[in-house]
């Protein structure tokens, strides 16, 4: 049996705000094999982003165990897990290439070496010509490409994307989706992708995990049996529609 890239075992998360305790995640069990592209969908506030921040090690779960390659996650391990946020969250005083190199700087890599690695990443995300621009000189889509480069620069086995395209327009979203697929196909990384957009989930993923409304539980685990490479025309196919309908039914029910 191959070891899972990410495992969640009975993961529970409670938030206490002003003495009020809310259950955000309720006993999540999930095994993600290496190289799989998994989309997490569900109604707003269902805890899918919370699960991502737990996998990233940004906080510890209230209960249960999270493992990355069989080892417990007790804090951020950026060499193994790269994170891409909804907002690009670039440091505004650093150029694109310096932003991509930032995680390497934190590790103490010498300047020349890390800038070289960062340039290669920007080439991969199609932004090689904009390496020396400051973030405010870049469009939303370009910023997100920088952010993707930053997530990839340490060559982590697992890539977490938290609604990475939610703030972008539809066309940029499509283009960047293809870009992520291309990078994924080339690097074979394990991907966890949180999104609100069902078409995006079906288009990108091998497998879709559907969450219920709070407290978040997994209500469906949908394998996406569409062939790869995915094409734009597939989105109008019957199979694509059926998959979307199946997921939508859960989300609609959860809203009651």
């Amino acid at each position: 049996m191959t070891q899972s890239a990410v495992s969640a075992r009975a993961v529970t998360q409670n938030f206490t705000v002003e003495g009020q305790s809310t259950l955000a995640l309720d006993a999540i069990d999930l095994e993600i094999p290496p190289g799989q592209f998994v989309a997490l969908v569900g109604p707003s506030g269902c805890g899918k982003s919370t699960l991502l921040s737990l996998v990233a090690g940004l906080r510890l779960p209230t209960g249960g165990t999270l493992l990355c390659n069989g080892e417990p996650i007790v804090g951020p391990v950026p060499q193994r897990i790269g994170m891409i946020f909804q907002e690009a969250n670039l440091l505004p005083w650093l150029t694109a290439v310096e932003n991509v190199a930032f995680p390497l700087k934190l590790r103490g890599m010498p300047k020349r070496e890390r800038l070289e690695a960062a340039r290669a990443m920007l080439d991969l995300t199609g932004l090689g010509n904009f390496a020396d621009r400051l973030p405010h000189q870049l469009s939303g889509g370009m910023k997100q490409r920088v952010s993707i480069g930053r997530g990839l620069v340490q060559d982590p086995g697992v890539l977490l994307l938290d609604e990475p395209f939610a703030a972008l327009d539809e066309q940029t979203r499509m283009v960047l989706g293809d870009e992520v697929l291309r990078i994924w196909a080339r690097t074979g990384k394990t991907v966890m992708f949180v999104t609100h957009n069902l078409s995006e989930a079906v288009y990108l993923a091998d497998r879709i995990i559907v969450f219920s409304a709070r407290p978040g539980r997994i209500v469906d685990d949908v394998p996406v049996d569409l062939p790869r490479p995915r094409t734009f025309s597939m989105m109008s196919s019957e199979r694509f529609g059926a998959l979307k309908d199946r997921i939508w039914a859960h989300i609609r029910d959860a809203d009651h």
Binding site: P78, F85, N89, W93, F102, L134, H136
Partner: protein, 251 residues
Amino acid sequence: MLRTPRQIRWAQAALAVFVLASWELLPRFGVIPRLFVPSLSEAIGALYEYRAEYLAHLPATLVEILVSYVIACGGGVTLGMLIASSPRARRMALPVLRSAYAVPMVVLYPVMMVWFGLGMGSKVAFATVFAFVPTLLTTVAGVASLSPHLLETARAFGANRWQRILYVQVPASLPTLIAALRLGGALVIVGVTVAEMLGAVEGLGFLITRHRTLLNSPGVYGGIILVLLITSAHEVLLRRLEQRVQKFRES
């Protein structure tokens, strides 16, 4: 009126001319008694007449300001950064510091004269105490207004606490740091001058008080002009710094 930057600059210049002209003319025509406000030319004349004296006392004031600046602003900003970086420290320290802020520090000056003597020590001590807490509180407030996303991102990429302070918190809060320095610096200058006026053997504040005791108003205003020049120089330096920081803030 006052639409283009050019028009605004003209209006500013006109306002300055008006104020300076009033300063010159009102005392001259007896609208304001000269003992209260001597005319501008008299004040400048006194500045020239007593130039040797002012020059002899200026270094003491500048050194006191510089030393207090480094301790109060440097310390206030550094400690503010550290406190702001930890929610626990913020909860613990802020109520105490806010209460300290409410204490009128000037009541401490007689005590400080006893502790540190009539020389520079008591001026530096007073100006530092006077400016430290406001600088610190401004720094903390500036950091608290930052979006937490950048810090969270840095954490996700493995930044430890010191790296987060150094690489994210400090550069992100540079504009508010300038606000903290602007306030702290102004308070340091006030603190030094006031301390010199209340009890000293040298410095511009000391000269101002001495001229006042002798009812030599032009001499008093000569000293006031010098203090204003120091304040303006501080402001000019901060503007320069601000412009250098500004270019990243367009986003």
